[in-house]
Amino acid sequence: MQAGIGSLEDLAFILLGITSLTSVLFVILAVKSRDLLMAVIYSAVQSTLYSLLLFLLLAPDIVLVYVAVSVGLLPLLTIMLVKKVGRYET
């Protein structure tokens, strides 16, 4: 039983590390991209990885707010803005 809990703990910490390293890649892609629609989509993928990170940190209230706000309302708002002002950054 003790060995089981020890390896479960190692697995949780390893998942924390892998998720946060993947999110750095998507943040770099979002800041460097010249097509604003692709930047919004990379930012939404990064928000999904953050909600997995918040679930691993045992914060279920925050996951509910974060998914509704950052994967639902903010990309919608930004895509509407991109439609009105122009898609490509000169």
Binding site: I5, S23, A30, V31, A39, Q46, V65, T78, L81
Partner: protein, 140 residues
């Protein structure tokens, strides 16, 4: 002991890298929509860093979020709950911070649309050139 410390340090370092790269995006890119996207990434990364400081190592029990599942707890159950739960205080702070951040972002989008309709562009360099022209002809 080693793999847990290394993975936790990796998580903290990558969150700090996210904050630094998105702050570079706010300062260095001249397009207003790109600045707005990078600002939202910076806000989210700082909120996740605040919650990360409430986690702890397991120490031979399985951790639990701060929600009590037993509706008639004995004092022994309450002591068990205190030994197992993570910190609820950073979660309460971040909850209000996320909703306020969304309200301010909605106001920012309204301001960007108003600027676009007035100046016909969203590029910050061109707006400052046009604004310089407007100020010069108003004070002449």
């Amino acid at each position: 002991m080693d793999i847990r410390v290394i993975m936790f340090l990796t998580t903290i370092t990558s969150l700090y890298l996210n904050i630094a790269i998105s702050l570079y995006g706010v300062i260095a890119k001249p397009n207003l929509v790109k600045k707005f996207i990078a600002l939202t990434i910076a806000q989210d990364s700082i909120n996740v860093t605040a919650i990360l400081m409430g986690y702890r190592i397991w120490r031979e029990v399985i951790l639990q979020p701060p929600v009590l599942l037993n509706w008639n707890p004995l004092p022994k159950d309450l002591q068990d709950f205190v030994n197992r739960a993570v910190d609820p205080l950073p979660q309460a702070l971040v909850l209000t911070a996320i909703v306020i951040g969304l309200a301010v972002n909605v106001f920012l989008v309204g301001a960007i649309l108003h600027l676009y309709r007035h100046f016909k562009t969203v590029d910050m360099d061109e707006i400052s050139k046009l604004k310089r022209g407007v100020i010069v002809e108003e004070t002449a």
